[in-house]
Symmetry: C2
Subunit: 592 residues, 2 copies
Amino acid sequence: MRSHYCGLLTAQHAEQQVSLCGWVNRRRDLGGLIFLDLRDREGLVQVVCDPDLAELFKVAYTLRNEFCIQVKGQVRARPESQINADMATGAVEVYASEVIILNKAAPSPLDANQNNSEEQRLKYRYLDLRRPVMSDRLKFRAKVTSFVRNFMDNNGFLDVETPILTKATPEGARDYLVPSRTHKGEFFALPQSPQLFKQLLMMSGLDRYYQIVKCFRDEDLRADRQPEFTQIDIETSFMSAEQVMNLTEEMVQKMFASLLDVDLGQFPRMTYHEAMRLYGSDKPDLRNPMQLVDIADLVKDVEFKVFSGPANDAKGRVVALKVPQAAAKVSRKDIDGYTSFVGIYGAKGLAWMKVNDTEQGIEGIQSPVAKFLTADIVSEILQRTAAQNGDLILFGADNYNTVCEAMGALRLKIGEDLAITQAGWQPLWVVDFPMFEQADDGSYAAVHHPFTAPVDSASFLTTPIDQIQQGDLLSNAYDMVLNGTELGGGSVRIHNSDVQAKVFSLLGISDEEAKEKFGFLLEALKYGAPPHAGLAFGLDRLVMLMTGATSIRDVMAFPKTATAACPLTNAPSSANPAQLAELSIQVIKKPS
Amino acid sequence: MRSHYCGLLTAQHAEQQVSLCGWVNRRRDLGGLIFLDLRDREGLVQVVCDPDLAELFKVAYTLRNEFCIQVKGQVRARPESQINADMATGAVEVYASEVIILNKAAPSPLDANQNNSEEQRLKYRYLDLRRPVMSDRLKFRAKVTSFVRNFMDNNGFLDVETPILTKATPEGARDYLVPSRTHKGEFFALPQSPQLFKQLLMMSGLDRYYQIVKCFRDEDLRADRQPEFTQIDIETSFMSAEQVMNLTEEMVQKMFASLLDVDLGQFPRMTYHEAMRLYGSDKPDLRNPMQLVDIADLVKDVEFKVFSGPANDAKGRVVALKVPQAAAKVSRKDIDGYTSFVGIYGAKGLAWMKVNDTEQGIEGIQSPVAKFLTADIVSEILQRTAAQNGDLILFGADNYNTVCEAMGALRLKIGEDLAITQAGWQPLWVVDFPMFEQADDGSYAAVHHPFTAPVDSASFLTTPIDQIQQGDLLSNAYDMVLNGTELGGGSVRIHNSDVQAKVFSLLGISDEEAKEKFGFLLEALKYGAPPHAGLAFGLDRLVMLMTGATSIRDVMAFPKTATAACPLTNAPSSANPAQLAELSIQVIKKPS
């Protein structure tokens, strides 16, 4: 029915007869003519309906916004004076010879000025997706997946599908469950990732695997979370961490070059500890140049307990954050606001210091805590932070994690507020993560997942378990970070059943529990499992960053609301009692 | 760790130093040397371990089957006399300088002669997949998906993901349900297909969509069914059925040419009624030349009620099936067997006729029913079936559906038994399906699905509902059939809300039920829905056919058993009571 896309007509098509299909984006009646902006997936073109063609004009006169029509006509170059430079097709228009209404449209329930609630937008998703800004994101997403697949195919990776109906996975988040009809009282779980299956594929000798795959987590939702999300999932045998990082870095570099014409350059590497030390975050946004500066050693002996307490505690931390040229821009009220902000992360206060004159040392600063500090301390703080006149210095003092979280978040916030964070793209790799993290009750959990190999597997294996310093162990894991967002993470996996059993043991997983949950993995490791490593990217977040969208909902065709519902289809909904009986389950509470 | 794949070494690599990684496929100690067949994804190569290298030889001596090892060494061309023509790498061997054991392997629990139960194979799937015949199928599958994606991308189709957690779909099979935690007592369903979402994408103006996507049906399983399966799902706006068929035919033709070097030629078209008439099936296997021949008109007046009953019944059918040159090959016992066989399909008997001498008419045949037939009837039967001396003719007489099913199945079985069915590839399109099929209770169901457009939507819309002959309505649907298997099916969809409402009404779906189940579709049709059409291929079956596998389980990495369980991971399994409580459900029977 169509000879050309509306949005792709150019002066090259002038004088050609065309047949277009699309939607009436706007109709204007002007000087006796009717002008239509006709829209399809590729854009808009202006259609002219001439009253001399009475039949045509009668039809054109009935057209309303969003009518689906077919237009036959001739492309005409517009006179120089009428060229619309704001429109990709602005050099031409189509002189209609026939207009056929394919389907009428009731007035849109969505507000044309986009004052629509998220609920309303999702309910009429098919109308919201007609906006070019929305459909462009889906088009871009398709380009990303196509790029990834070609890259992986060309590197010898095999696209292999793994099950969606599977066993509860150990990623730690809550599983979605699916009752089994043939095994009464039992449940499948939807995968949080294909982690164990991709490892099994390596044990199958498939050598290189990838998949763009749906994953599921039944978690309370935030702006960047959805019950189902998509991973670019990669696993390979016989490659080191270094090789996996190089390969996936190359993929992302080439993707940005190809789809955004952006040169990301080589990605710097930073250890986890360095990232926490400088940025208070394991996914630092390097577009923001501010860094945390440790000063615990300077304030051990001051009378101000807020500083000296953490400074003398092995688990404490005291840092300064210099905000360049902010002394005059940040008011007392702003500082009160920032104090509340760091309170969200558990910080009990926020000390500050304005630098008026670095030449004058302690005399040249203004600070409520100045009275607790000596001239030497102030001088050293100014030196370590490389302070200039007009700078503002903020202080965080608390236990290590609280300082990192609070001051790391404050750094980002001030970076945005004062436009210190620059535009552009700042990728990096964060490496040498701790293997385990300790909870308040003293127990340890895996930082990545319990299949991540230690950096030094051999010494891990030979060290008696009671001599292992769990907190000090480093894992062979790596995260790719872009502009403060974790794009993907991966690791070298454990391929030795003794190492795997020892890790389970350190995690407090009993032999029985390990056998129940991961028995098949431990068994599989006994049959010549190859060394293997991999990585998974969050596709939604990647596309969100690349398109400049502010929510992953805007880069998915049919996302769920914050309560995990679909206003379009009304899912979830109540089930047929007969079907529940077949599944041997019943609802124990009334629908809320 | 690897410089080359084992299976890709050729004489071109002679004298090169290589590093290989893989599994010991076999070890032979011969003439003081140790020979290893080393296997990786791409194949085998022979490795020679020389006792002069004492360290190496000591390691080689400890190797057992399926040990995962790294071998460094030099590629050597084998002397002419030692070239192994049965091995892709048979012109070379690798003279090892170092063998490193990456992982040991316990003896395989699978029988090397492949006398393994399906259960056992699935439990040790990662070992079963090490067999080249198995891994080759997964590699081929990856080639198919890659081919499809490139073809669709190049034709302007966008890969768009649709939800897995969605609302119960109307395809008719049983849904898998997923309890919602945030909406207590309510359930998501896993999609039987993305049918409605892809139609909504057309209403969004996305124009051309495809997806290779998991679908789910909680049905009792047969050899070619799995709880989760994969569709190549396609939808397009502004294209006719003809255009969709041409495009997808081109895709399959090019796929066969590219991946199998097979020229499928242009696909013939056949109406549903013609297919039922000639083959008793809507997915005829044209590799089998036998056809059903109608003879009801000949036997209306015979005394044999088995023939004359159906012959005089408007819903009856009487057919002859000529089996060429089978009179001498098929014994009485064989015929008894075939009689039992058609009994499975409800046929009450199987009359037969051996053709000894066509010249002699009724005198030249041998048949238990000969006494009921006149010379004219026999002569006409011989003529219509173009019988030759030595042929066997079988008869089916019953109601129309039973004759089609029983004689259609018998045609296939005899085709296999007597090697009448030829090798090769016989694709076709089956078109002009009935819109509705009538159940025994007189009610009508959709043959495809209730969103399929009638061939003539305009007259359908204007004909008063009580004047519509439901049984005679044809739908604008099309199935692609290959060698008796339905590869894919599709249709032009309804894009007019009045047509859709009328179809629901004819299906006995009340306004209320239609609104409850498909309200969002009826609503969406009001806002300028474009004409659209599509098709979905069963990827598993396509790959099964192309690889010559006999079950779709053999072309999936991790399939389920016939009771929808996974012996590898032990899914499904019992759930944590606390999690069930969170989901507001409980199990009402003990696990079986």
